[in-house]
């Protein structure tokens, strides 16, 4: 019978495994979705079963479905269940599923903390490995913070398999929890020299990844990497290192010089193409970083170019691609060396491989000169015609524009040619880059004054032929050029030969099909043209009918735009319509209106640099962040709303180009306001008053002067003889590209004869080509006292920014340990000498400083949202604050009776949920550690036996062994991370490298049973709070033991005179604290409570009660559980490391009172004994020689406690010194108790 049940369940279990699912999906090709939905229903049924094998099978199938695109996040909790299976098979399935579908906002992730911690310390290396692999995919800031210590421990694991994984995952931890970088870095550095190549490679990997983002912090590692580079034979490692050097050399040219030789050797010797390529790359980086005045490096350049040429000529397309890629890097600094290979690169343009063509295009960008620009562009235009895919053609288009416009049109000698190229590009079908062409047209027309007549003529033709551009809806992108055409024709209408016909072209009904913003420009510029027509006609008063006909034309056509759905078009059209109607009235009365109408649009435009607005210095005393009016609704919307818009105008364009200043009309209102403000600020010396000629208000919103601009007019007026314009006209009609070139040559020759200008050609003057036109302004206009700010490019959201941490600075005492919010906030190492205040400063003073810190922190919290993007300057401080709930708690002033307690929100934050992982309460040590010490025990009086000086001299002798001892100290330290989970694997790592053969330590825990009934179990650990000398943090794990839901837990303690529970502001002294979570059956969770204590000399007992509601399906009952909290003197001690010389000094100072203790019949090994003292009583080993050890600890109020522990024949004698005899006596009693119980 029983067998039948088992068999049945197994049958069900493998009803449908992954293979069956896959096969099923393959057999249901037609109704796959339906089949899968039935499968998901089955899976849901399977997940409801208790059998873990069935669940794992279901989760395995879900992982497959996730790959097919099905959302499986609903099963996240089941995945966690499978992850926590004790069987490796299932665990692996669980972790795989988690790694595929968990992410930062998966809420069950917080339930996994303890499970992962347990797996990390599992004796089975594959459990650990699988946990690390999974964690690397879904680590969150919380997990990173909670597990950083455990992972750091694993970095020294005995098994290389674990070490390499632990090292690698540290990168993810750093990213999520930047505070861990500094404390972990020394160990990471050690791993660079790990005996195992895999671990070494992992460490190199992590450091390279870190250094790539913030290279300057890793410069000090250069010698180490240099050594590795010359010694390592692992190509993977070499490549990584060489890549890293590539990132470091720009910061330190001396490094580069050293690198050249070994790299050149590698280039000559290696047979691995990948390595050769990276070497060449780094040599290039080095050469770029070195100043150009190094003639002896031309050999290296030649070597690189020569090797690259070999790569490019290789038949392997991959090498060709990479060769071109590297070549483009050389190009930036040594264009001459690359230009000699122009043939090769032009050849690559014909390659069948698009990636290679794109790379070759990149190279062309840097290879153009005044001489060859036209030739190269001509070749590119041919490719444009040939290109099939639109992406590649668009790429070509942008490249042509990039090439021509680079460095302020440096290489363009003839702008007529350029305009005609732009016009030709508008014939491209379906390009996305209409906007780019348009901005180029505008830019050239505005900045090159001499070209305006030509440009206007071309644009007028474009407008006339607009139907060609807009005929096809697919060509929509290109109609952007009409925006530019209309604007140029309107703005420079004085150059138009026949403004009337252009005006007519702009008012065709077809225009109404254009996008709104283009129509708006049309309407506005129609008005400008109208003004020009009027002026032209009124010059010859004989024929007034033309003027009147023009008005009539506008009155006839504009209503079409008045009906436009686009508000912008509508508003402009109706304004202008009314204006024209009025003008018509005047015309009928024979009034001369031309002058007034022209005045509407008078004035000259200046190009303004895109960043000009940003660079206007903030006047002294003006705080832009301050509210102007208290309700922050309207006042900010102006500034904030405008900025992104301003950006959007330019964002679409390539930032390399100078932008013409044209503004969208909805800024008109703002512009007006700005004008008002400007008038007010006329006397402010920080505002540059624009010259009268440029001081012009443009009602049309085109070229509104947002920015004070200094008029720079470098140009000598040029006249392009009419014949050239005509030539150009003819040429355009013929429209043959090859003929174009001849035209140009002719023009160029004449140009040379006709006009000589001093130019901005500067270094290029060696070239015998004189530009036909000068770019009006060589640099973009900037406000006069613009601030040189270069951080414009940095992305404030880059997670790597937080990792910009100085790693060379020696670790401050407080950061030697990870500021991890664990159960043991006492582990921040502090050496009394490094931190002298510890000796002298009276407790009150310390408290104050702690208080100040916290105030700062509170301020920070308030500002947090603003400051998040800023670099964390006070990292150290924040790190500390992360350490415990205590830090978040408002400081309680001891004189006042006002009580404070952690705000509920923070406590929620603090909770570390656990899945069915109750601490091992059964360990006797755990209980004994927290054992009661009689509160009335009198401090034993000093009966110090050993004179201090002998002690200290001993210490000096021991100095040579210090190193070894420190290692051990570290090991001891590690024990602390292991909490109640420390077990086999953890011990292995701890023992790693130990000289002596010592048997592993039994597991230890500081969590002691606080109280227990049939519903709930409470375990607690009491730790001093490092931040505040008067606080103690009590971490309580609540475990739900029953089958019902436990909620509304309230924790209350009867305060004593000396110790008070910190309660939230406003709460009475007898109110309980709500535990910020509820407990489902079988779940445990941890909460922290902060107590303030006045005197730490004596142990204390506090009575307390936990009240809670047990909720079953049909009823809920109130229950309570009484407990007694024991504050032992040990809990006021904080593990603090101390160097032996500092220790000796401390003992010599004579401020300490002594006491001693003898324990008989202690049979455990000495190192266990020490470990126990370290673990349960928060000491650290200073030195240990044979069966004698000195130990140190410090109280939260800064008392030093020194122990000398000796053992012989099962007798342990402890000599102790402390500057507070009462405290010492109690601590010794507690130590005695610990050992009497084991």
């Amino acid at each position: 019978m029983a067998l039948k049940i088992v068999k049945g369940s197994i049958d069900r279990m493998f009803d449908k495994n992954l293979q069956d699912l896959v096969r099923g999906i393959r057999n249901h090709k037609e109704d796959e979705a339906k089949y899968i939905s039935t499968c998901i229903d089955e899976i849901k049924q399977e997940l409801k079963q208790d059998n873990i094998a069935v669940k794992a099978n279901a989760v395995c199938k879900l992982t497959y479905l996730q790959m097919l695109g099905y959302d499986v996040s609903w099963a996240a909790f089941n995945i966690v269940e499978v992850m926590s299976s004790s069987k490796f098979t299932y665990k692996r399935i669980g972790y795989l599923a988690a790694s595929q579908c968990f992410h930062e906002s998966t809420d069950v992730i917080m339930l996994t903390t303890n499970q992962i911690r347990k797996d990390l310390s599992s004796p089975n290396q594959y459990d650990t490995g699988v946990a690390l692999t999974g964690l690397s995919c879904f680590v969150t800031p919380d997990l990173a913070r909670d597990l950083a210590n455990d992972i750091m421990t694993l970095m020294s694991h005995t098994k290389p398999y674990i070490r390499k994984k632990a090292v690698l995952i540290m990168y993810k931890v750093f990213l999520k929890y930047p505070e861990s970088l500094r404390p972990a870095f020394p160990r990471l550095k050690e791993k660079l020299e790990d005996p195992d190549p895999g671990v070494q490679s992992a460490a190199v990997n992590v450091i390279c990844e870190l250094a790539r983002r913030n290279p300057k912090n890793y410069l000090s590692l250069a010698p180490l990497f240099f050594k590795l580079m010359t010694s390592s034979t692992n190509n993977w490692v070499l490549i990584k290192i060489i890549k890293l050097f590539g990132a470091l050399t720009p910061l330190e040219p001396r490094l580069g010089k050293k690198l050249i030789e070994p790299l050149t050797n590698l280039i000559h010797s290696t047979s691995a193409m990948s390595l050769l390529y990276e070497c060449v790359n780094t040599v290039i980086a080095v050469l770029i970083s070195l100043s150009s005045g190094m003639p002896n490096h031309s050999a290296s350049i030649q070597l690189c170019v020569q090797k690259l040429r070999i790569l490019i000529e290789d038949s392997d397309q991959n090498l060709k691609y990479l060769g071109l890629l590297a070549m483009s890097k050389i190009l930036k600094t040594h264009p001459k060396s690359v230009q000699s290979h122009k043939d090769l690169i032009l050849q690559c343009l014909d390659d069948k491989d698009e990636s290679i063509r794109l790379r070759a295009l990149d190279l062309l960008y840097g290879m153009v000169s005044k001489k060859n620009l036209m030739e190269i562009v001509k070749k590119l235009m041919l490719h444009v015609d040939k290109a099939e895919g639109t992406t590649y053609r668009d790429e070509l288009l942008t490249k042509i524009i990039d090439i021509c416009s680079q460095s302020n049109y440096q290489y363009i000698t003839n702008f007529e040619w350029y305009i005609s190229i732009l016009v030709e590009l508008t014939r491209l079908e379906g390009t996305r880059h209409g906007h780019l062409i348009a901005s180029q047209m505008l830019d050239v027309a505005i900045r090159v004054k001499a070209i305006r007549a030509f440009a206007v003529a071309q644009m007028a033709t474009l407008l006339d032929n607009a139907h060609l551009l807009t005929g096809n809806t697919q060509r929509n992108g290109i109609c952007e050029v009409l925006y530019a055409a209309a604007w140029i024709c309107g703005e420079f209408s004085e150059h138009l030969e026949d403004p009337l016909s252009t005006l007519e072209a702009m008012l065709r009904p077809k225009v109404a099909t254009l996008p709104g913003h283009i129509q708006a420009v049309y309407v506005q510029n129609a008005a400008k043209l109208f003004a020009t027509v009027l002026r032209g006609q009124e010059g010859a008063p004989a024929d007034r009918t033309v003027a009147q006909e023009t008005s009539q034309l506008l009155i006839d056509r504009l209503p079409l735009f008045v009906q436009s759905a686009n508000l912008e078009v509508q508003e402009r059209a109706s304004c202008i319509l009314q204006l024209v109607k009025y003008i018509q009235k005047l015309q009928q009365k024979d009034v001369e209106v031309a002058e007034e109408v022209t005045a509407l649009f008078a004035g000259e435009l200046n190009p303004v640099a895109p960043k000009a607005q940003k660079k206007v210095p903030v006047p002294e005393g003006l705080d832009l962040d301050a509210w102007i009016n208290e309700p922050p609704s309207e006042s900010e919307s102006e500034d904030e709303g405008r900025k992104p818009k301003g950006k959007a105008v330019f964002a679409k364009e390539e930032s390399k180009h100078t932008k013409p200043r044209y503004t969208e009309v909805d800024e008109k209102e703002l512009a007006k306001r700005r004008e008002v403000r400007k008038a007010e600020q006329a006397n402010n010396p920080f505002y540059i008053k624009a010259s009268p000629s440029s001081q012009k208000v443009y009602q049309d919103g085109v070229g509104v002067e947002h920015i004070p601009v200094v008029q720079i007019d470098l140009s000598v007026p040029l006249k392009v003889p009419d014949q050239y314009v005509k030539l150009e006209e003819e040429r355009r009609q013929k429209d043959k590209a090859d003929k174009k070139k001849k035209d140009k040559k002719k023009r160029r020759e004449k140009g040379e004869k006709g006009r000589r200008r001093k130019g901005d050609s500067g270094p290029e003057s060696e070239e015998d080509i004189t530009p036909a036109h000068m770019v009006d302004i060589t640099t973009e206009e900037m406000p006069e006292n613009a601030l040189p700010s270069d951080d414009d490019e940095k992305d404030p959201n880059d997670p790597h920014k937080a990792l910009d941490i100085d790693l060379d600075k020696p670790l401050a005492d407080s950061e030697k340990k990870l500021p991890v919010r664990t159960h043991r906030p006492d582990e921040v190492l502090r050496s009394p000498v490094d931190d002298g205040e510890g000796v002298e400063v009276v407790p009150e003073l310390k408290k104050k400083s702690g208080k100040e810190k916290k105030d700062k922190k509170k301020d920070k919290d308030r500002k947090k949202s603003k400051e998040e993007k800023k670099k964390k300057k006070h990292k150290h401080e924040e790190g500390e604050n992360l350490m415990g709930a205590g830090s978040e708690v408002p400081v309680q002033s001891e004189d006042s009776n006002e009580v404070a307690a952690p705000p509920p929100a923070t406590t929620t934050n603090e909770e570390a949920a656990k899945v069915s992982e109750a601490p091992s309460a059964s360990t006797p040590e755990a209980v004994s550690g927290m054992a009661v010490v009689p509160p009335d025990s009198e401090p034993e009086e000093a009966k110090d036996t050993e004179p201090e000086d002998t002690k200290s001299s001993k210490h000096k002798k021991k100095k040579q062994k210090k190193e070894k001892e420190e290692k051990e100290k570290k090991k001891k330290k590690k024990h602390h991370h292991h909490h109640h989970h420390s077990d086999g694997a953890g011990d292995e790592s701890v023992q790693n490298g130990n000289v002596e053969e010592e048997e592993p330590l039994p597991p230890m825990s500081n969590y002691a049973l606080l109280a227990e009934n049939s519903y709930i179990k409470m375990m607690c650990d009491i730790q001093g709070n490092l931040q505040d000398g008067s606080q103690v943090v009590v971490s309580v794990i609540f475990e739900n033991k029953c089958d019902s839901f436990i909620k509304a837990m309230e924790f209350n303690v009867l305060d004593s005179l000396n110790s008070k529970l910190q309660r939230p502001e406003g709460a009475g002294p007898h109110d309980g604290l709500t535990v910020p979570f509820q407990l489902p059956p079988g779940i445990s969770n941890e909460a922290r409570f902060v107590f303030s204590v006045q005197s730490i000399v004596m142990p204390q007992k506090l009575k307390g009660t936990l009240t809670f509601i047990v909720k079953t399906d049909d009823s809920s009952t109130h229950e309570k559980l009484d407990f007694k909290l024991h504050f032992t003197c040990t809990s006021y001690l904080i593990t603090t490391p101390c160097y032996s010389d500092a220790y000796a000094k401390l003992l010599e100072s004579g401020d300490l009172k002594g006491s001693s203790l003898k324990l008989e019949g202690v049979s455990q090994p000495f190192h266990h004994l020490l470990a126990r003292i370290c673990f349960h009583h928060h000491f650290s080993v200073v030195e240990r020689i044979g069966s004698c050890a000195s130990m140190y600890s410090r109280s939260i109020q800064g008392h030093h406690v020194c122990l000398l522990v000796k053992t012989a024949d099962q007798t342990v004698s402890i000599d102790a010194k402390c500057d507070e005899p009462g405290l010492l006596g109690n601590v010794l009693d507690e130590i005695k108790l610990t050992f009497s119980q084991c």
Binding site: C137, K243, N318, L322
Partner: protein
Amino acid sequence: MIKAILIFNNHGKPRLSKFYEHYSEDTEQQIIRETFHLVSKRDENVCNFLEGGMLIGGSENKLIYRHYATLYFVFCVDSSESELGILDLIQVFVETLDKCFENVCELDLIFHVDKVHNILAEMVMGGMVLETNMNEIITQVDAQNKMEKSEFSSFFSLYRRLSFSLPGRTGRHRLVLQVPLLVPCLP
């Protein structure tokens, strides 16, 4: 950093997807489709590098791929990875699969995607290259598989073996799926 590892067949059917950054399921599918679209239209004898797609990372990233018989192996990486190095890594990956599955073919990947994940986990972790030595990878994979076997009683293992042996290459699957990814090396 490796941003994603994708394996799909000549028709764009995903056989394995491993993203080292989080995307929604829909985006993941879009990325797979886009990548397939980019990769599949390329000729056999063009370079194995592609400027990244729109969805995954943009210009910072590169797609590095290899095409074996019926499958594409695509790695999406950023600028810190060596292009040729990743190409080698893909080769190591496929050779490892070949060792673990004995003449690996698409069918193996279809039915044992979990095993492929486990092998991959020994090579790349959290987007960083963990191990490139094939013997070491195989040792670790084998050790874990052995552990898995030892966890089951004989009854279970028998059952599992039965169930695993079913979708082998003896079935009625189309021959094309059984094309070995690696051409056996001639002595």
